[in-house]
Point group: C2
Chain length 116, copies 2
């Protein structure tokens, strides 16, 4: 679970060819699969969605726990997965941790899927 194990989505788009262009090699498939696994969870999709549509496009954990209906540790866990995968950025201000969308992260992975 160390940071180096996961390659940020934005970096992947710089190293791999889209799905339909040519047969993907094993390494590229592994990387893209990891990025997609981070997305492929209902709680995490809703988290991204909540952050994106929140005021100032950022939100702290306390804003997210209640609408999701999950415990605080679980929400923190999902946020960590999204940060490690490069979809979210985390900024600590005082007691709070504010999360915001990494620019272009979603469009990057989207581009790899659609083939451009």
């Amino acid at each position: 679970m160390s940071p180096t194990e996961v390659l940020s989505v934005t970096d992947i788009s710089a190293c791999c060819t889209p799905i339909t262009r040519e047969p993907m090699d094993a390494a590229g498939a592994e990387l893209l699969a990891k990025s997609l696994k981070a997305l492929a969870d209902p709680a995490r999709l809703r988290l991204l969605s909540l952050v994106a549509s929140h005021e100032d496009s950022e939100a702290c954990v306390c804003d997210l726990t209640e609408p999701l209906g999950l415990s605080q540790p679980t929400v923190s866990h999902h946020l960590k997965v999204l940060v490690d995968a490069g979809y979210l950025e985390r900024e600590k201000r005082g007691t709070w941790a504010y999360y915001s969308l990494t620019p272009d992260a979603l469009t990057s992975v989207s581009g790899l899927i659609s083939g451009l």
Copy 2:
């Protein structure tokens, strides 16, 4: 694992709003997560890639087993997952089963991710 449990990707794009538009409801997140889970596996990504770049944009199981380095039952399993999720179509001709990309399936899910 019944067919009715899984909603085809193409249908999802007709029923759900993209991630960043507004907070996703639980049901929509569940559906999109299921579609993404079907994609989020290295073997399945390579299968889609192999089928797409194969001659006539279709391939039978025997074409796919060797380049993937997985057993025939495992390949069949992954292909079933992709068909159930709506990414692949299956046509049986004689002894062989030919798989081809469902038109617009990848672009549909890609659109839901990128926000348009």
